[in-house]
Amino acid sequence: MKDVMVVIKLMMAEKRDILYSILFGVLAGLTSVGLFAMSGYMISKSALAPPLYIITIMTATLKMFGVAKSISRYAERYFSHRATFTILSNLRVSFYEKLVPLAPGIFQKYRSGDLLARIVGDVESLQNFFLRVFYPPIVLVIVFLSTIFFTTYYSIYVALTLFAGLILTGFIVPALFALRQGKIDSQVREERGALSTDVTELLYGFRDLKIYQKLDGKEKQLGKSADLYVDGQEREGIHAVFNQSVNALVALMISWFVLALGAYLVTEGELAGLFLAMLVMISLTVFENATPMALFPAHLEESRHAAARLFSIVEGKSEEEGSSDQLSKEKAYSMEMDGVSYTFLGEKRLTLENIQLNIVAGSKTAIVGPSGSGKSTVLQLLLNMYLADQGDIRLDGSPIDSLAQESIWERTNVVLQENHFFFGTIRENLMIAKDGLTDQEMETALLNVRLDSFSLEDPVFEKGENLSGGEKQRMAIARAMLKGAHVWLLDEPTSSIDAVTEKQIYDQLFEAAKDDTLILVSHRLTGLETMDQIIVMEKGSVIESGTFDELMNKKGYFYEMKQIEKSVLL
């Protein structure tokens, strides 16, 4: 229910449309009851040979009712749907907004196809919340009460029957269905999520599935998920048809009862025969509004479930607040780690243990060490993507948790080990770097990384699938260079680039970063002679640090690695 409250809150932004929907809904309901009541009355009246002008007047009124009914129905639909789809649109955006602070940790819990299913499918199914759950009962009750009030003038018994009918079709029958509703619905949402997730993964892993000849198997498996989903929808659909037919039947029964009762009262002389047709017409019409109530429990349940699925992901974790200090924009800053330990969520082993780092502003540092020793994790902590469990991290002398995350990101040029490229053009992918970049600047950046054979209009596929590995890395470097901040964090930026091109790029890079603080994670030891500091990591700890010469003299781990490199180079 809590999640539904969130939806209601979002809905309240569309207050005016909601009011209009209710207003026109009531109007449409009343005019249509009026229309049929009139026509029933008119025909009976005609039988009694009234003067012609009465017939004329009544026909004219009838027309007016008809027109009013059609227009109010139109207005109701228009406003309610406009409100609904605006609400849904806001819901999607708000879901995204809540998702952003949770990256990248969220991807260890949820699969992207699943998140997609939620933001599309679950949000979409919430449309029924407003259109079928939220306001129609209000309209229904108002229309019914007015109608019942009107009928009391003619026959209190008929009025009572109508009232009983309202309770029956509006509340009791739906409540009975609610009991039966069970979990049919929740399964469908889950099945939809599963299918969407699997299809997404099929697309993402297509190349590997092809190579390993697993596509046929996947196709079969997906075929099954798809069938399960359709089966679920079918069950749901038949269920809905059943509920609606039953409720429609109950409504018909009531009109039948009104007719029987009315007929009896007429024969007993307690009701003028003139009104019999009118009363039955009223009953038939007013219950048309009540039949959809059969689906109320299904829609409510569906909405509740969809809201829960949506908000379970993003709930609770609001953004960390309070840290708002900014890093200086113009100059390179220093970075320190003091006794930092870190463990990834759900791990028992320390990922980083008691790390000491002192990176002077403007210095050049290399981090080396075996795969999995924690190099990338150190960089991520320095970016405040994760919070250290223990120890202090200071940027420019200020504790990292006093700084706004955005300010850190704004002041660093980052090349991650894996960089994302968006579907679009080269230009769009480079534009991310900074506001107001000119084509000229971007072309220069491409030239700096030897990608001048590309034009800014060239297409980029999703995840940069049409770029070679080295091209992607160079594109990422170009993007970082364009950003123009004064601190560089580079995580194996050239691992797929050949030595010749690598050299050319490093020349450019170090020229651009002349006065900046720079940290480079690399597996290549050749060329580290000029670094101010080399940090050697193993199994989550810093085991050595110093300049190239210091480490070589020490004859420790670095020296050993260097010997291996030499031996393979010979």
Partner: protein, 571 residues
């Protein structure tokens, strides 16, 4: 869309049932009106006693019951038909998706494709659950009513005949627009899905560049676009309903006036006839009106069906395969060329790769190394020239047989959402034992890490799983090759992200593999290259030099420069 109709009438029993039940429904409607009118007439004008009308009341009750049952059965049939078609269409899409050649699989946005699979197919539903049953019903019921009215009172029937055609005419005009608009709506939804999924994947990148908020605006825009597209369609629907209502109230008014005048002024018909006609007239127009809105939804489904069909009909040149079995192969590239859709091309590749050869492909980034591996692996067909396996075109061989002989560790191996064991097992034949998997992991130098994990080989990785460092991911992928002992192995930069020490451990297992298989490696590191029997040196899509290391050092300036660069200073 003809396809949709064809699929409907393929389900013969169901459509036949819909026809029968429509006739019955029509009969029930007329019956209901008859009983209702007779009862009112009886007590109101004929002053019958309650006892006299009792049988009529029971008759009415029975008719109402039957009507409800019929509406249930009708609805249920529609739902079932829709399900059958949705199942069929999804299977077709899946087949198409999995048969796609790799190039077209990579183009376009994944989110958009998911949207066709999910949303467009779901959109087809209402064609069967609403439109078809309504079309059948409306092609029968109004005619039955008309017949009865004509019989009872010709003039009202004539008014119906004259006014009725306006309704279909009107909604045909409206429906035309709907189809195009609903295609647009689905396009917008696909665009939203595509953008969202792409953004999700790149969220970390966006955050680092301070773009998450900007992207929010784009997402909002996509989302609003979709809303607007939806509203446009709905507005058409609402306006058309409004118009239909006007037409039908006007017509019913005409009938009422005509009947009223005859009843009051000319006294030429009986009350019961007049009332009967007046009760039936709204049912007549209602049925037509409902067809109107069903038509609207139906057109929407047609738009969706068109999207699906576009996806299905997109003709792709699939990689050609035959039926021959593969033995330990020798591979020859004879003047093979390949071009990406008016982009980069591999030109005139000549190479002979004998069984058990150790080949290295080197070259600058973007020179076409990966593309060449794809070509050798059979992911692409050469546009010119031939790839010969044991002297016959590769396209003679059976796809399964070929890939059974081959392992290909691509440059960015994908880790599937699943356990570590599953991820390694995907590389081998079905039913690899746990021991085999552990052995493969060991050879790939990743077993120590796996053992240190709480759940060991059952640790979930990939999306919604534990994160791994770059080098660890690479080694999991490598384990796939070690699991299967194929006769050809293609490695695309297998040791990126690995330090020299880890790489040395791997070297041993790789050497072991090489004893019984052809190994073709794309590499930048000298020591891998040097050990190769033959090196293909690529530049801008062409082989500029080939031969063993020592020879190339002598013959190729560029090659020498590259080697020197590795040993010399880089930074």
């Amino acid at each position: 869309m003809d396809m949709l109709r064809k699929w409907a009438f393929e389900q013969r029993a169901m459509t036949a049932f819909l026809f029968v039940s429509s006739v019955l429904t029509g009969a029930m409607m007329i019956g209901q009106a008859y009983f209702f009118v007779t009862i009112v007439d009886g007590v109101f004008l004929k002053e019958q006693s309650f006892e006299d009308i009792k049988p009529l009341l029971w008759g009415l009750l029975a008719v109402m019951l039957l009507r409800a049952v019929l509406s249930y059965l009708n609805g249920r049939t529609g739902v079932k038909m829709a399900s059958n078609v949705k199942r069929k269409v999804r299977r077709m899409l899946l087949e198409k998706m999995t048969r796609n050649p790799i190039q077209s699989a990579l183009a376009g946005q994944s989110g958009g494709k998911v949207s066709v699979m999910m949303d467009a197919v779901d959109e087809i539903d209402s064609y069967y659950s609403k439109y078809i049953p309504q079309v059948i019903q409306t092609s029968i019921v109004p005619l039955m009513i008309l017949a009865v009215v004509l019989y009872e009172h010709v003039y009202s029937g004539l008014i119906m005949i004259i006014t009725a055609p306006f309704i279909p005419l009107f909604f045909i005009i409206v429906g035309m627009k709907t189809k195009a608009k609903s295609e647009e709506q689905l396009d917008k939804l696909a665009a939203f899905s595509g953008r969202f999924l792409d953004t999700l994947q790149g969220l970390t990148t966006l955050k680092l560049f301070g773009r998450a908020a900007k992207q929010r605006d784009l997402i909002e825009q996509s989302s609003l676009d979709f809303r607007d597209a939806t509203m446009t369609i709905l507005k058409i629907a609402f306006v058309s309903t409004l118009m239909l209502e006007f037409i039908s109230t006007l017509s019913i008014g005409l009938i009422a006036l005509e009947v009223g005048l005859r009843l009051v002024v000319f006294e030429s018909i009986a009350f019961s006839t007049a009332f009967f006609v007046l009760v039936l007239a709204p049912e007549f127009y209602l049925s037509l009106k409902e067809l109107g809105s069903a038509f609207h939804t139906g057109r929407g489904s047609m738009g969706a069906a068109k999207k699906v069909m576009d996806e299905l009909e997109e003709t792709e040149q699939p990689v050609k395969w035959g039926t021959a079995e593969v033995s330990i192969p020798s591979i020859e590239l004879r003047n093979a060329s390949f071009q990406y859709r008016d982009g980069f091309s591999l030109k005139n590749i000549k190479a002979t790769i004998p069984p058990n050869a150790q080949m290295a492909i080197v070259g600058q980034t973007g020179s076409g190394k990966t593309t060449l591996l794809h070509l050798i692996a059979g992911l692409f067909d050469p546009s010119e020239g031939d790839v010969l396996v044991n002297g016959r075109p590769r396209s003679d061989y059976s796809e399964t047989a070929w890939f059974d002989q081959l392992s290909y560790i691509s440059q960015h191996p994908y880790l599937f959402s699943g356990t570590i064991a599953d991820n390694i097992a995907i590389g081998g034949a079905k039913g690899a034992s746990r021991a085999d998997i552990e052995m493969a992991a060991k050879k790939a130098g990743i077993s120590d890490l796996i053992k240190s994990l709480e759940n060991g080989y059952d640790t979930p990785i990939g999306e919604a799983g534990r994160g791994l460092s770059g080098g660890e991911k690479q080694r999991i992928a490598l384990a796939r090759a070690f699991l299967k002992q194929p006769s050809i192995i293609l490695f695309d930069e297998p040791t990126t992200g690995l330090d020299l020490k880890t790489e040395r451990i791997l070297q041993q297992s790789m050497a072991e593999l090489a004893k019984h298989s052809t190994v073709i490696t794309v590499a930048h590191r000298l020591h891998t290259i040097k050990n190769a029997d033959q090196i293909l040196f690529l530049k801008k899509g062409e082989i500029v030099a080939s031969g063993p290391h020592t020879e190339l050092m002598k013959t190729s300036m560029e090659y020498r420069e590259m080697v020197l660069q590795q040993g010399g200073t880089v930074i």
